[in-house]
Amino acid sequence: MSDTATTENPREKLTKKAITADHPTWCPGCGDFAVLASFYKVIEKRQLDHEKIVTLAGIGCSSRFPYFVNGHGAHFIHGRAVPLASGISLARPDLHVFLFGGDGDGFSIGGNHLTHGARKNVNLTYFIMDNFVYGLTKKQTSPTSIGFKSKTDPTGAIDMPVNPMKQLISAGATFIARTHATQVNHMIQMIERAMDHPGFSAIECLSECVEFYPDVFDPADPRKGGSFEVIQEKKWDNTPEDELRHDVTDELAAYKLAQLPFPGVFGVFYQNDRPTKNALEKKWIDNSREKVGNASDLELLQKTFDRMK
C-alpha cells in the first residue's frame, strides 16, 4: 500500500480550504458549526495525509458532517456507522477513521453497536454531538432528553435519560471525554487526544439544539445555567493538591464523575491502554502467517484442497 506517486506528485500544505466542501445545512447558531471548525483546525494543525482522512456518519443533523469535509467519506444508514467504521479501521490501519453522529444515532438505534464497538476496542474516533432531541425529524424525544416537552412527550419526557458517560464506561471504551460546542479550544484538545489514543475513543459534545431548546444551556453564560467545570487530571507530582485530582485510569472514579447532576463536568473521564481489536487481529494474522510459512495465497488454498482429496 505504499504511495509510489508521492515523489511525482508533491504534496501541498493541507489548508482549511482544501478540506472544506459543501456549505453546512445546519440551522443558524447550531453548535455543530463549531465542531466542524474545530475539526478543520485539528486537520490543519496535524497535517495528516489528505487521502488518509476518512469521515463517516450515520443519520441525523450532525451526521451530515461528511458532506462538509472534502475527504474520502461515507454517509451511512441510521445507527450502524460504528460497525461500518470498524470494518474500515480493521482493514486499513493506514487510515484515520473519524466518525460523527448524534445522540439518537449513538445511544438509541445504534446502542448495541456502540456497546460492542467499545468492548472490542476498535481503533477509531467517535464524536457524538448530543443535541438532546431528534432535530432532523422535528422535535421528538431523544434518549438523552431530560424532561423535555417534545412532540412525542407533550408533557415532558417521562423516561429516564441515557447517561452517555456511564454507558461508555460500562461498555469498555478506552478513551472517554466530554466537551461542549461553545468551548472550541477544549474541543480541539479533546479531538487531538482522542485521535492520538489507540483504541475506541469517544467524545460526547453537548451541542444543544438551538431550534428546539429556546432556553438552551450555555456553559459560557452563567445566566443560562452555565459553568464549564473542567476535570483536573492527576499530574502524579506527589503534591497534596494532586490527591484531589482525577485519575483517568480509575474506572470507579470516572463513574462517580458521570453521576454529577447536569451539566456535570468536562474533560477526560477515562482512558486506558487495553489492546485494540486491530492489534489482536494483527497478532493472530502474524502468528497464522508464520505458522503457514508465509505461503502464497495459491499455495495455501492448494494445500487445503490437497487435504480434501
Partner: protein, 655 residues
C-alpha cells in the same frame, strides 16, 4: 436373524457387464470369511445410516463419502439434523456410484438402523429386496415382512466389548463403518488412513480406539447372513483430475477465498454458521479478518466497511438474518458498493424449520429491501457449483460495483459431494485494492459509466475527494432532491444490471431441445430435476430441463427455449403462493407473460426425490408404490391433507 437370506439380493443395481467383473482386490486386512461371499460388481449404492445425532453417523457417513472421492467415485450425501442441541433422530445417506451421481437417491439399497425408531421411520425408504442392517441390541424388526434382507448385528454390545468399559457405546459409528467396509469391499487401508487423519492432533488413544472399533466391525462374520459381497466397479475418470470431497458450505467458503475475498463479518445462524467458522479460521492465514459481529446489522455494516476500504467483503446468514440486513443492502444498492451476501436458506418464515431445506427466499433475495434497489442474485446448483458461484459473485460484485446475493440452502450446505479438483492457479484472484492516484475529473457516480468505487487512501490529484452515500446524489456524491437526478440515478443503477444480463450465458438444455415438457429449476434441486428428466425420457416423455444459476438479472434469450415446449414447469421447494406459482414461476411469468409457465412446488422441508418430481409434473403417471412415507402425500402441488397433518401434530412440549 433366522430369516433366510434372499437369494436374489437386488439391493444394488447390477453392473450391465458382469463379464467385466474383476475379483475383489485383496487387502491387507483380515479376510477370514471372505470365501463365504460371492463377489458382485455394482455401479451404484445408496446407504442410509439412521440413528441419533450424537451417535456420530455423520462422521461415519463423511468417511464413506471421502473414501469414495479418493477412489475416483462419484458421491453425494444427504443428511438431516435435528434442531435440538444434542440428540434427536438424524440420518446420513451416502450414494456412491461409479457413474454420474446427481441426486442422493430416492430409495436406500442399504439401511443401517441403530434404534427401533430408526427402523420404523426409515423402512419405507428401503428398496424392496434391500438389506436392513440393524443393531440387534436395540431393534426388533418384523421378520415376517419378506421384502427385505435382515442382517442383525449386536452393534452396541460388540462395540462395548471391543473398546472396553469407559467409552460405553461411543464408537458404534466406526464399528458400523467396519461392517460396511467388509460388505462393500472398501479399501481398508485408505479408510484407516482417513480415520487417522481425522483424529490426528488429538490424543493418540483416540485414534487407536477408533481403529479398534473399525477392526471389530470389519472382522464380524457378516458372511454368515449375507451371500454377497459388493465391489464398486472401477471406471477410471476421464480428464485425470483428482476428486475433491467437501460439503457445500466449505465449497462456498473456499470459493470466496479463491475469488479474492479476504474480509467479512457474520452472526451465527443455522445453516450459515459453518461458513463463518471456516472463514474465521482460514482468513488470517491469508492476511485477512472475519469478524463475529454483535448482530446481523453489525455484520453487514462491518462488511460494507471492509468493501468501502477496498476489500470486497462477504456477509451471510439464513433468511431471518437477511431480513435484518436488508436496510443495509438498500444502502449498498444506492451507494453502489460491492458486497457478497450469502443466504443459506432454511424453512421459513420466522424461525420456521431451522434445520430443514426450503427455497422460499428467492423473492426476498431479489426484492428484499426498500425502494428500487437493484442487486444481483445467483444460486448454486451443486456442491461443486458453490465453489464456482462464489468466484462468479466476486467477479460481478467488482465489475458492476453492486451487492450480490448467493443463494444456497440446507441441503447444499450439509451434503458432501466429490468433484473434479479446480485449477486454482487459473481461478485465484488477487484481493489488493487499487490505490493508485486518480487523475482529475473523477466522479463517483458518473452517469455515463458503471460506477467503480475508489477506496480511501487513494490520492485524488485534483484535490476533490469522493463521498459515497445513501442519500440520492449527483454525480459527485452530493445529496440532491432533484426529480431529474433521482430518475437518472435510479435508471443508472438499473441499467448496469441490464448490461450484466447481456453477458450471462443462456443455460444449456438437458434432454430434448423440443418437446412437450420443459422443467426449469434453480438451486439445490439440480440433481433430482436432471434425474427426473432422464427417467421421464426413458419412459418415452419428450422432456427437457434447464437450471438457472443467474436469477437476477435473468440471462437474455430464455424465450427462445420456451417456444420449443408445450408446457414449462418450474420445480421449486417453496409454496405455490396465492396465485398458484412458485417464486421462480412468478418471476418468469412476470418477465415473459407466458401462460405456458406453471409450477410444481412442495413445502415438506425435505429434498426432492426423483419420482416425487415426476408424479408432481405428470399427475397420475409414474405412480410409485414404494419410496414414500404414507403421511407425506404429494401430487396436488404440495397440498396436504389436513387430517394427515393433524395426525403428525404434537399435542404438547413442542420442541
Amino acid at each position: 436373524m433366522g430369516d433366510p437370506v434372499n437369494p436374489d439380493v437386488a439391493a444394488v443395481q447390477r453392473s450391465a457387464a458382469a463379464d467385466k467383473a474383476t475379483p475383489p482386490t485383496a487387502t491387507a486386512a483380515s479376510q477370514s470369511d471372505r470365501a463365504d461371499l460371492r463377489p458382485e460388481n455394482i455401479q451404484d449404492a445408496v446407504i442410509r445410516l439412521a440413528g441419533n445425532s450424537q451417535d456420530g453417523i455423520q462422521t461415519a457417513g463423511a468417511f464413506l463419502a471421502r473414501l469414495a472421492g479418493r477412489s475416483d467415485q462419484d458421491v453425494m450425501t444427504y443428511m438431516t439434523i435435528p434442531s435440538t442441541i444434542s440428540g434427536g433422530p438424524s440420518i446420513f445417506q451416502v450414494r456412491i456410484g461409479s457413474g454420474e451421481v446427481l441426486s442422493a437417491g430416492d430409495e436406500a439399497d442399504f439401511l443401517v438402523a441403530f434404534y427401533q425408531h430408526s427402523y420404523q421411520d426409515h423402512l419405507d425408504f428401503l428398496k424392496e429386496g434391500g438389506v436392513l442392517l440393524y443393531d440387534s441390541d436395540n431393534v426388533e424388526p418384523n421378520l415376517d415382512d419378506k421384502r427385505f434382507v435382515y442382517v442383525g448385528v449386536p452393534i452396541t454390545g460388540l462395540t462395548v466389548e471391543a473398546l472396553g468399559g469407559t467409552a460405553k457405546d461411543k464408537g458404534k459409528n466406526i464399528f458400523v463403518l467396519g461392517l460396511i467396509s467388509k460388505i462393500f469391499s472398501l479399501d481398508v487401508e485408505k479408510l484407516k488412513k482417513l480415520i487417522s487423519e481425522k483424529f490426528a492432533g488429538k490424543d493418540e488413544s483416540i485414534v487407536n480406539t477408533a481403529l479398534m472399533a473399525f477392526q471389530a466391525g470389519y472382522a464380524y462374520p457378516v458372511g454368515k447372513v449375507l451371500t454377497h459381497q459388493y465391489q464398486f466397479e472401477h471406471i477410471p475418470k476421464t480428464g485425470g483430475r483428482a476428486q475433491i470431497t467437501m460439503d457445500g458450505n466449505q465449497a462456498l467458503a473456499y470459493g470466496l477465498i479463491a475469488g479474492g475475498v479476504r474480509y467479512g463479518a457474520g452472526y451465527p445462524i443455522t445453516p450459515w454458521s459453518s461458513i463463518m467458522e471456516v472463514l474465521r479460521r482460514e482468513l488470517p492465514k491469508y492476511g485477512g479478518i472475519f469478524v463475529q459481529a454483535e448482530d446481523e446489522l453489525g455484520a453487514v455494516s462491518l462488511s460494507l466497511g471492509f468493501s468501502y476500504a477496498g476489500y470486497l467483503a462477504v456477509t451471510g446468514s439464513a433468511g431471518p438474518g437477511i431480513s435484518l440486513k436488508s436496510e443495509a443492502i438498500g444502502w449498498a444498492s444506492m451507494a453502489e458498493m460491492p458486497l457478497i451476501i450469502c443466504n443459506i436458506q432454511r424453512g421459513g418464515p420466522s424461525t420456521g424449520l431451522p434445520t430443514n431445506v426450503e427455497q422460499s427466499d428467492l423473492h426476498q433475495a431479489i426484492f428484499g429491501s426498500h425502494g428500487d434497489s437493484p442487486r444481483v442474485v445467483l444460486a448454486a446448483a451443486t456442491v461443486e457449483d458453490c465453489f464456482y458461484i462464489a468466484i462468479e459473485a466476486a467477479r460481478i460484485a467488482r465489475k458492476y460495483s453492486t451487492p450480490v446475493l448467493i443463494l444456497s440452502d440446507t441441503s447444499l450446505a450439509t451434503r458432501i459431494e466429490a468433484f473434479d479438483e479446480p485449477d486454482l492457479s487459473k481461478l485465484i484472484v488477487d484481493p489488493k485494492p487499487d490505490l493508485t492516484p486518480r487523475e482529475g475529473g473523477f466522479k463517483p457516480y458518473d452517469l455515463e459509466k458503471i460506477t467503480q468505487h475508489v477506496p480511501p487512501g487513494t490520492r485524488m490529484l485534483d484535490g476533490k475527494y469522493p463521498l459515497v452515500t445513501g442519500l440520492e446524489h449527483d454525480e459527485h456524491g452530493h445529496p440532491t432532491g432533484s426529480p431529474k437526478l433521482h430518475m437518472a440515478m435510479t435508471a443508472k443503477r438499473r441499467k448496469k444490471l441490464q448490461k450484466l444480463a447481456e453477458e450471462i450465458p443462456v443455460p444449456e438444455v438437458y434432454g430434448d431441445e423440443n418437446g412437450d415438457t420443459l422443467l426449469v429449476g434453480w438451486g439445490s434441486t439440480y440433481g433430482p430435476i436432471h434425474d427426473a428428466a432422464k427417467l421421464a425420457r426413458e419412459h418415452g416423455e419428450r422432456i427437457g430441463a434447464f437450471h438457472l444459476r443467474h436469477l437476477h438479472p435473468l440471462p437474455n434469450g430464455l424465450e427462445k427455449i420456451f417456444k420449443n415446449f408445450k408446457r414449462i414447469v418450474t420445480v421449486e421447494m417453496n409454496d405455490q403462493g396465492l396465485y398458484g406459482f412458485g417464486q421462480l414461476g412468478t418471476i418468469l411469468r412476470a418477465r415473459y407473460c407466458e401462460p405456458k409457465i406453471e409450477s410444481f412446488t412442495k413445502t415438506d422441508g425435505l429434498t426432492f426425490r426423483v419420482k416425487e418430481i415426476l408424479q408432481g409434473v405428470f399427475p397420475g403417471k409414474f405412480v410409485s408404490v414404494r419410496g414414500y412415507s404414507p403421511n407425506r402425500p404429494v401430487g396436488s402441488n404440495g397440498e396436504q391433507d389436513v387430517k394427515i397433518a393433524r395426525a403428525e401434530s404434537i399435542t404438547q412440549g413442542v420442541g
